[in-house]
Structures are given as structure tokens and as C-alpha cells.
Symmetry: C2
Subunit: 215 residues, 2 copies
């Protein structure tokens, strides 16, 4: 995996108000929604060298590989997919301000899926050892991890229920409403797989929806 | 909702070795896999009157209802379902030693689904206030809740991925392998809905699998 460690202040983006924000700013803005950090705590976090720049197409995790790594997307999009009977099955896309702990990390087994970068990404990559050291030193981080994990659990429950109770058309409409950016950002065949349908069904479905919207 | 508070020692079951175990024993056995409790902590837990006996068919939560209740199944089976266009869509069954915090509890909104008892049940019913009071007094409980929540997150991720990447037949075979008891315990139309198929498709699928197993 070609991952480049980047300095705290190097990578930057322009926000909605045309203000230049460093990745560090973005991270601390996000954290401040959960807990307020002292300068000491901020420095402790920065000293961990968590920021990484990763090129589009990079495989972050292979099937069969063991890992202790957690990923948090500051910029870009990563994809989880399985290869089943030679066919890629995409199960998730993670975009800005969402974290992923592969389930093989918690289960301490080789991964049964792949993770790759759909776009050039800036990620926080931490490992379980690192997290537990920081969390035991700064209970605030621990509290935040817990809040994030609970939020994720709820989000996942809702997504799963929606997937189970929706037709492919309904799933696509949900996605249009909740994550409209995703439809522009990821290749159509990956999107189709994510929705649990064939690429040609996705094309037909989109045409049908477009037709309806003209009525 | 007709829920009967029951004493700590009243309800009992016979385990695999024909030993009579009270619900209290079963709960403490379960907890001991995560943390070891002192007598004080055990008594604190028992003083909360968490044990409830609930009859088959009882609706524990209605669509549109607000709740702060968490459910943990000591005995029996509870079902989560939505009613969409007049049709029931079952998304989950919770059986022995599994807990459910409805997502409306965490989001503080009315529930978008129903929870009902598929069998006579013995449940622990706690609410969020109660949990935070106990957890702040006994950090051990807090640690356990966190472990359970992490386990649940992993389990849910795996279930979701399996659902997304499997054909209905594969989903049924997975269920046969992972939760064979469920197939006997719940009505076939609920099981079909849970697998995302029509009841008649489930019958055909079972017949096909039976036929294959004879070859």
C-alpha cells in the first residue's frame, strides 16, 4: 500500500465560505462537536502522525490480510468490497468525516473483504494499540470514540433496515436524498453493486426516475 | 403492553445438563464472560427490578411511539418489523442473550417500527436514565456495555454485508448454519420477510435445498 505520511498543515481544502482550512482544522472542528480538547490533548493527537495521503486506486486492505488499522476519511472516498465467485460486490462507501474499523480488526482474523480508495484521499490511520494508549491517557477521547461508535451503530441499523425494506428503486431514491454526492463520485457499476442490482438495471431505473420527474 | 414484573428467583429454566437455573443465574453467567461483579454490584443490578415476563404476541413498541426502553432477551424471541404500504416487513429477530436498543431511543424520535414478542419471553427492560445512573456508579457496567455495543456493531456489519452479498438461497443457508433454532421458532411468513423474499419463494427454496441434500 502506497501511503504517504503528511505534515499537519500541508494538506488543505477550501470550505463553503472559501476559507482555506487545513486537515488539522477540519479534524478539530469535527471533534469539537463531541468534546472540547485542551491544547495538550490536541498536541497529543497530532503527535501520533495520523494524517496520510493516499492515491486513488490504492488498496488499503486485502482479503486474507490481517490488520490493526482503523481508517477515518478526512477527504475522499473509500470503498469496501468482497470478491465472490470472481465478481466484485461493493457493500459500503465511506466519505468525509466517517470512520471505519474493519470487522477483522475487532475479531482478530484475516479480512474477508478489500478496502480501496475510490478517489485520492486524506485519511487518519490509527491502530488499536495506539487508540487504547491515547484513550487511557485522555478519557475524553474514549468518551468521543464511544459516542461515535453509538452513532455508527444507529446509522448502520437504519441503513440495514432501509436496505431490507426497500425496493431497488426506493434504495436509489434514498441515496439520492441522503448522499447525492456519492452518485457523482463513484463508478456506476460500483454503485449498482452497492444497491444490490445489475448495472443495466441501474441504468433502466435512472431512466425511469428521470421520465417520472418530467411528468 | 402487558408486562409482568417478576421476582429474581421465580423464573427458571433447565440447562443442557438438566440443572435448574434461575434467570438471575443466567444473567450473571452471561455478565461474567465480560466483567466479574462483586456481591454489591450484583445487588445493585438486582435492585433495579429489570426482570419482566411478557406474553407471546405482546407489542413492546408501536410505530410512532416514543420510548427510553432497552430490551435484553433472557428467554424467548422478539421481532422488529415495519409496516410499509400495509405490509409487514420483518428486519430482525432477537433471541437469548441478545440486546436491542431501538434506534429511536438514541435519536429521541418516535419509533418507525414495531417490536413484538414471537414467544412468551423473559426480558430485562431498562431505560437510558437507569443505565447511565448505574454505569456512572459502577464503571464496570459501563465497560461491559461498551464491549457489548462493539460486539453488536461487528455482528451487525457482518450480517449486513452477508445480506447484501448473498442470494436468497445463500441467506437461507447462512441462517440454517448460524441460527438453526430460528427456523423452527418463527412463522414462515415472518422468516420469508426477514430473508427479503415472498413466502412462496421460501417454500420453493426449501424444497430445492431438500432435493439437493438427497442427491
Amino acid at each position: 500500500m502506497e501511503v504517504v505520511h503528511i505534515g499537519r498543515l500541508v494538506a488543505s481544502v477550501t470550505d463553503d465560505n472559501n476559507k482555506i482550512k487545513t486537515m488539522q482544522d477540519i479534524l478539530f472542528d469535527f471533534i469539537s462537536k463531541y468534546v472540547s480538547l485542551t491544547e495538550d490533548e490536541k498536541n497529543a493527537l497530532l503527535s501520533l502522525d495520523l494524517f496520510h495521503s493516499v492515491k486513488k486506486g490504492t488498496i488499503l486492505l486485502n482479503e486474507g490480510q490481517k490488520t490493526q488499522d482503523n481508517f477515518f476519511v478526512l477527504k475522499g472516498c473509500i470503498r469496501v468490497y468482497y470478491i465472490i465467485d470472481g465478481e466484485e460486490k461493493t457493500t459500503a462507501f465511506y466519505t468525509e468525516m466517517v470512520g471505519l474499523t474493519p470487522h477483522c480488526v475487532r475479531k482478530k482474523v484475516p479480512s474477508d473483504y478489500f478496502i480501496s480508495c475510490v478517489e485520492d484521499c486524506i485519511l487518519l490511520i490509527s491502530n488499536t494499540d495506539m487508540s487504547s494508549k491515547v484513550n487511557s491517557k485522555f478519557p475524553k477521547f474514549d468518551a468521543m470514540c464511544r459516542m461515535l461508535s453509538e452513532e455508527l451503530l444507529v446509522k448502520q441499523q437504519i441503513d440495514f433496515d432501509e436496505f431490507k425494506t426497500s425496493s431497488p428503486e426506493k434504495r436509489y431514491l434514498n441515496l439520492l436524498q441522503k448522499r447525492p454526492d456519492l452518485i457523482q463520485r463513484v463508478p456506476q457499476h460500483q454503485l449498482a453493486s452497492y444497491l444490490g442490482i445489475k448495472p443495466q438495471s441501474l441504468s433502466r431505473l435512472r431512466a425511469r426516475i428521470l421520465e417520472k420527474s418530467k411528468d
